[in-house]
Symmetry: C2
Subunit: 706 residues, 2 copies
C-alpha cells in the first residue's frame, strides 16, 4: 500500500484505514499548498488527512476521545453539520522575533453527534495555514455532558513513510535529553538512561521534528496546552503511525474536564524547506491573545547570575554542609557555613557591579534562601519557604545596593517539585518580592512532583504552570520556568511568561556527558517551536577543569566560544543569560561586547540557512533600531558559508563586527580561539563565514554614515 | 491456649507467640493495676503485652515498621538499652471538661538496633497510666536514617478473647457511619453501604471500643496524629488479633518521614467500668502542650446557623438552580435566583437577632459564597474561592449589623475536598475573615480529595488539618473541621481547634435512615475519645415532614426533644450549635432555656452512669461558677435512674430545673413531649429520672440561698 500511495485523499479512504468501504462524507479546507480532508468512515469513526501539494503529510488518521464513563467519542459518530471560514488578520506581540504576525487560515468546523445514546456532541475544528494545520476537539455545553474525565485521546498521525526523526524519550517528568536522530522504524529509547521516568521504548515527546525523503519538513506538536496533560506520541515502527499518549495522573486518568471545554490544538507544521519551519508562527497564532492590557512592566532582558559558579563547583547553593535539616526546626544562624556559599552579600554585589558596568538589566541569585542543604532527591514536602534568606544574604542591603546601581535582582524559587508547598506559599513569596523590589522570578521543578503520583507534564502540573503565569501577571512579575512542561506558545497569552527551560540546557555541559555540538542546531526545530528557552548561553571558559580541576575533570562546554555568542541569535528568547562568571568575561571583554550589544527583542527575523542537526544561520533586526545581528552555528562539522546580506536596508552602510572562530579552533581541541574583525558592508555584500567544528559566528551590523 | 491463659506475662511468652523458645529479655512498667511488658523474642522481633490486674488486656503482640527501602524495623533487633522513669504532673487546659488534668505515668524506653546492617536505631517508648497504655515508635537522628518511607506498620493488639466490639468500617475517607455492635468474630462490613471507599470487610476504624466478658472496657485509638496516616485495624476474626493498617497515599505508601521522627502514640485505655473510660485523660496527656502563649482570643461558644434549614429542604446552599458553572467564568449577578437561598442578608439578620436576644455568641452562615450550584460529586478543583459572596449576601452590611448586636458571624469554608484549591486560597481567605471581623471558621471536606488519589485519613491530609490548625492559630482564628480525620487529642496542642465533626452527626437524621437511638450512647466511647465533636444537637422540631412534607417524608430525628437537650452535657464540646431554626425554638422557649443556660466550658465532670450502646448520665460543673448541669440519655429502651446528687457542694442548696421526657414520650411516637419541673435539692438528695425510649433528661442546678 505504501508504494502505491494514491494522490487524492478520497481514494485513500478506500485503503488500509477503511478497506473496501465507502466513506460517509469528506470535507476539506486548504491554504496555499496545504490541504486537509476530514471524513467519517462507514463505521462512523472520524478521520483526517493532510497533504502538501501532491505530497501526503499525514495519511488518513483516526480521531477520538475515550471517557472514563465509557461514553466518550471513540465510537460511531454522525455528522450534524460543518462550515468553512477564512480568517486573515495581523497582530503585534508584546515582544518577539518579529514586529507583527499574520494569522491567515481557513477553518473547517465539523459538528458531530454520538450515533448512540446519550448522543453527546463533539466539534472538531481544523485550521489550515500555508505552513501547516492545527486542530482540536471541542466539547460544547450540552445537557448530556457536564463533568467528564478523558481516559485516552486517540489522535493518530499516520505518516506516509519512514521519515528521519529527531526525538527524545517519552519521559512524563523530564525533557532534558539529547536528541536521537533515527528513522521512525528505529525509534527505541530502551538504551537511553532515564532522567526521571523510564519511557515506553517507542514513546517520544513533542515537538517531534521529521524529515521525509521527498523533501518535506514536518513538525508535530501542540498549541495552547491548558487544563490538559501534555501529549506524547507512541510510534508504530512498522507502519510509521504515531498515536497520542496523554500523560496520566496518579490514578491513570488523563484529564478532568467540564464542558464547555476543548483540548489543546494538535499542530502539524509542514514546509518544503527547513527555514520555513523555524519561521512558522502557526503555534503562536493558535494561542489566545493576551488579556493583559497594561504590559509596559514586561521587559525583555539580559541577566547575569550567581549560578554557573555552582555548576562548575566553585561555589554551592547551600550555606552549610550539614544534611537532614527540617525547615521549621532549624536555626540557620547557628549552622556552620561551608565557606563557599555563592549567594553571599559580597559576591552578589560583585555581580551587581558587573551588570551595572556592562549594561545588563538584572542579577539572578540562586541559593539565597534557606533549605538547600538537602533540597533534592528526598521527595520532601516542606523544603523551601521562599522568604527566609541565609544568614549571609542581606536582603535589604542588596535591595538598596542594586537599586543604587540601576540593576534589578531576579528572584529564584526552586520548588524541588514540592508544588503543594510552593502553592501554599506563593502569595507570601510574591508579597516578599514586591516588598523587596523584585519583578522577575525564575522557578524550578527539579525532582519528583508532590502531589505524589502527579507528573511534570500531567494536567495538574500544566494547570499549575498556567496558574503561576496568571498569578505572576496579576502581581506584575515576569516568570521563567525551569523543568516545566515544554511550552506551547502560551507566551502570546501570558507575555510575562518570558521563557522556559524545559529542555536540556547549557548546564548539562557542566556535569554530564554534555550536549553534543549538534544539540543547538536541533533545539530550534524541536523544543523552541513552542516558545523561548532560557538556554543560558555565553559560556566563555569552555574547559571547566580550570574552575575545579578535581571535580570538573574533563568537563567542558561542547562548542567554541564564538558559537556561544551565536546562540544569542539562533536561540530566540526575550530573556537571555550571560551565563558565565564575571571573571571569565573580564578575560575577554572584546568578545563580551557582542553579549552587551545583542538585543532580546526584535522587529524582524530571517532564517538564512538551516538543517536540523547540522547548521543554522539566523539574522534578526533589533527592535526599533537599524541594527541587525547574525548568528551562525554548526554541528561537529566545520562549514563555510557565504551569507548574502540582502536583508540589510538598501542604500545603508553598516559596520559589521564579526565574532568568528579562531584559526584552528574546534569545540574539543581549541574552543576558546576566536577572532574579531570589522568590515563595512551593505545590502549588496556577501559575508564569508568559516565555522569551526562545533563552532559558530556572531555578527553585529550597525549603521554607519557613508 | 485461649482457655488456659496464664496469668503472668512472662509465662505467656512461651505460648503461641514464640512457642517453645526462650525470650531474650523482658522489661516492664506499671501504674496501679495496669502493667506492660516488653520483650524481644529469640528471633529478635519486639513485642509487648498489657494486663489489668490479673486480667490480660493485650496478649503478647508484635511491633514493627516496614520501610520502602526494605531496611525497616520488621526484622531482628538487638536491645541496646532501656530505662524507666516516673512522671507525675498536672496541667490546665485552655478549655475542657475539667479545670486541671493530672498526667501520671511510668515510662519505659527501649532502645533497639537492627541486628543486621545498616544497624539502624529504633526507640520504643511506652507510657503506662492507671487507665491504660500509650506507646510509640521513635526514629532518632542517626547517620543511617535520614529520609525514609513507611510502607507498613506492623503493630498488633492481640486480644485474649472474643470481645464485644463497637465498630465502623475502615473507610479511608469517611467516618460517618452508625456503629455495629458485634463480637470480634463477627466483624464484617461487607453488607454496609460505603460512604466513600469500600472497606476491607474485617477492617475497622479507631477509636475501637471493646468490652470483655470478664468485665474490662478497652478502647484502642491513637494520640497526637501528626505527619502520619490514621491507623485502622484489621481484625482477625479467628484469633481476635488486631493489626494496624495505615491509610495509604496515591501510590500505596504510608508515610514519608525524616529522622528524627516518631509515630503517633498507639493508645489502649482500659478500666473495669465504663465511666472510667470516658473520664480518661490518657489521650490528651499524650499530646504536646500548646505552644500558644496568648489564648484569650479563644472562646468556647454556642452558635446558631443558617444550616439546618438547608438540611430540612426549606432553603438551599446554592443561590441559583443552574448547574455546570465555572468559578472564574461566571457572572453571579446575572444568575436567576432560585428564591430560597438560605444565606440571604435578611435571613441572616433574623439569626443574628435571635442569637443576640438569647445570648448565643455567634451565627454560622453556610452557602454565603459563590460556587454551591455544583459543588459536590464532581471532583472539581476550582470549586470555591472563599471570598466572593453571592449577590444577596451583603458582607459589609452584615458585618456591621452583627457587630451592632454584639454577635459574631462564623465563617464557613466548604472545600468540597478540593484541598489544593483551598490551600492556595487560604491566605486570602483568612485575610478576608480578618477584614470582616470573623474569628472562627467551620471547614468542610465533603467528597473525594484533590490531590486525586489522596485520602481524608492519609498522611497528606493529616498534615493539612494540622497545618490549618496552626495557620488559623497564627491568625487568631478558631476552627471547627467537618469531614476531617477523627481527632486524637490535638486540641491540647492547638486549643483554637475547637471541634471536629469526623463522625456521623445529627444531620444524618435529616436525609438518611438516620442515627439509631443508641448512637449518642456509643459516640462518647468511640469518636469522642479523641476530642470534641460538633454533633449539632438541639433539634426541637423532631419530625421533619413539617418543614417540607414532600422531600422529608418520614424523616425525623431519632431522639426525644429532651434527649436533644441532654446531649449538650453528654457530648462534650467547647463549640455547641443550637442547630434548629429560630422559629422552632420560639415554639418552645421554656425548653430552649436549657440551651441558653448550659455552659461550653467546665471546671469538673463526673460520669455517673454509662454503658456503651445503652445509656450515659454525666454531670459537669460550670467554669468558675457554682452551677452543675446533668445530661442523661438512653438508647431505644426506657430507663429509670435514681441519681445521687452527692457531687453537689455539701451544705449548698440548689434549684434543679429538670427537662424531662413527657409522659408517654418516645423517640418515634411522641418525641416532642417534654416536661419541665423545678425542685430544691442538695448534696444529700437523690433525683429520680425517667427516660423515654430514645429519650433523655437535662438538669440545671443553680445555687439558691437557704
Amino acid at each position: 500500500m505504501r508504494n502505491s500511495l494514491p494522490l487524492l485523499f478520497l481514494l485513500l479512504l478506500t485503503t488500509r484505514q477503511w478497506a473496501g468501504a465507502q466513506t460517509q462524507s469528506a470535507l476539506t479546507a486548504r491554504q496555499d499548498k496545504v490541504s486537509l480532508t476530514f471524513a467519517l468512515a462507514p463505521d462512523g469513526r472520524p478521520s483526517y488527512a493532510v497533504s502538501y501539494g501532491p505530497k501526503p503529510v499525514v495519511l488518513p488518521s483516526r480521531l477520538g476521545l475515550a471517557f472514563a464513563d465509557g461514553q466518550g467519542f471513540d465510537g460511531p459518530l454522525t455528522l450534524v453539520g460543518s462550515d468553512v471560514k477564512d480568517v486573515d488578520e495581523t497582530w503585534q506581540p508584546v515582544w518577539g522575533e518579529v514586529k507583527s504576525i499574520r494569522n491567515h487560515y481557513q477553518q473547517l468546523t465539523v459538528r458531530l453527534r454520538q450515533s448512540a445514546p446519550p448522543g453527546r456532541l463533539l466539534t472538531l475544528v481544523f485550521r489550515v495555514f500555508a505552513d501547516g494545520v492545527g486542530f482540536r476537539y471541542e466539547l460544547p455545553a450540552q445537557p448530556a455532558l457536564q463533568y467528564f474525565t478523558v481516559q485516552d485521546e486517540k489522535t493518530e498521525f499516520n505518516l506516509p513513510a519512514n521519515h528521519k526523526a529527531f526525538w527524545i524519550p517519552g519521559d512524563y517528568d523530564s525533557n532534558e535529553y539529547t536528541y536521537s536522530t533515527t528513522r521512525l522504524s528505529e525509534v527505541n529509547s530502551a538504551g537511553i538512561e532515564a532522567i526521571q521516568l523510564k519511557s515506553a521504548p517507542q514513546r517520544v515527546q513533542t515537538p517531534l521534528m521529521l524529515k521525509s525523503d521527498d523533501g518535506l519538513y514536518v513538525n508535530i506538536h501542540e498549541a495552547a496546552l491548558v487544563n490538559y496533560p501534555a501529549m506524547m506520541l507512541d510510534v508504530d515502527t512498522n507502519t510509521f503511525g504515531l498515536r497520542s499518549h496523554l500523560v496520566p495522573d496518579a490514578l491513570g486518568a488523563k484529564a478532568y474536564l467540564q464542558a464547555p471545554e476543548h483540548t489543546p490544538w494538535r499542530t502539524i507544521v509542514v514546509a518544503d524547506n527547513a527555514p520555513a519551519v523555524l519561521a512558522s508562527k502557526l503555534i503562536l497564532n493558535l494561542n489566545e491573545p493576551t488579556k493583559l492590557t497594561e504590559t509596559s512592566w514586561i521587559r525583555p532582558q539580559k541577566f547575569v547570575g550567581v549560578w554557573w559558579e555552582m555548576h562548575v563547583n566553585k561555589a554551592s547553593w547551600n550555606y552549610s554542609d550539614v544534611s537532614n535539616l527540617k525547615l521549621a526546626d532549624t536555626d540557620w544562624s547557628k549552622l556552620t557555613p561551608n565557606g563557599h556559599h555563592g549567594a553571599n552579600t559580597q559576591n552578589v554585589k560583585r555581580y551587581i557591579d558587573f551588570a551595572a558596568k556592562y549594561g545588563l538589566q538584572s542579577v539572578l541569585v540562586e541559593g539565597w534562601n534557606v533549605g538547600w542543604e538537602d533540597w533534592a532527591n528526598n521527595w520532601k514536602e516542606e523544603v523551601f519557604d521562599f522568604v527566609t534568606p541565609y544568614p549571609d544574604f542581606a536582603v535589604a542591603e542588596l535591595q538598596q545596593y542594586a537599586q543604587s546601581k540601576g540593576v534589578k535582582l531576579m528572584m529564584h524559587h526552586e520548588t524541588s517539585s514540592s508544588v503543594t508547598n510552593y502553592e501554599r506559599r506563593q502569595d507570601a513569596a510574591y508579597r516578599f518580592m514586591q516588598g523587596h523590589n523584585y519583578d522577575a522570578v525564575k522557578t524550578g521543578y527539579v525532582g519528583r512532583i508532590i502531589p505524589r503520583g502527579e507528573h511534570h507534564d500531567g494536567q495538574w502540573m500544566v494547570n499549575h504552570y498556567v496558574r503561576t503565569a496568571q498569578k505572576t501577571a496579576d502581581n506584575h512579575i515576569m516568570v521563567d520556568m525551569h523543568e516545566s512542561v515544554r511550552p506551547t506558545g502560551l507566551h502570546r497569552t501570558y507575555p510575562n511568561w518570558l521563557a522556559n527551560e524545559a529542555a536540556r540546557g547549557n548546564e548539562f555541559n557542566a556535569w554530564s556527558s554534555g550536549n553534543p555540538p549538534e544539540h543547538e542546531t536541533i533545539l530550534p526545530f524541536t523544543r523552541l517551536m513552542g516558545g523561548p528557552m532560557d538556554y543560558t548561553p555565553g559560556i566563555f571558559q569552555i574547559k571547566l577543569d580550570d574552575w575545579n580541576p578535581e571535580r570538573n575533570k574533563g568537563k567542558q562546554v561542547h562548542t567554541t566560544l564564538a558559537k556561544q555568542l551565536a546562540l544569542y541569535v539562533t536561540m530566540y528568547s526575550p530573556l537571555q543569560m550571560a551565563a558565565d562568571l564575571p571573571e571569565a568575561y573580564e578575560q575577554h571583554l572584546d568578545a563580551f561586547r557582542f553579549i552587551q550589544d545583542v538585543p532580546v527583542d526584535w522587529d524582524d527575523t530571517r532564517i538564512l540557512l538551516a538543517e536540523p542537526g547540522d547548521y543554522l544561520t539566523t539574522v534578526r533586526k533589533a527592535k526599533g533600531k537599524e541594527e541587525w545581528y547574525l548568528g551562525a552555528i554548526t554541528d561537529e562539522n566545520a562549514r563555510r558559508q557565504s551569507v548574502k546580506l540582502d536583508f540589510l536596508t538598501p542604500g545603508q552602510r553598516y559596520e559589521a563586527t564579526i565574532y568568528a572562530d579562531g584559526k584552528n579552533a574546534s569545540w574539543n581541541n581549541n574552543p576558546m580561539a576566536y577572532q574579531i574583525r570589522r568590515v563595512k558592508v551593505d545590502s549588496r555584500s556577501t559575508l564569508p563565514l568559516a565555522l569551526a567544528p562545533g563552532g559558530g559566528a556572531a555578527v553585529s551590523f550597525k549603521p554607519v554614515s557613508k
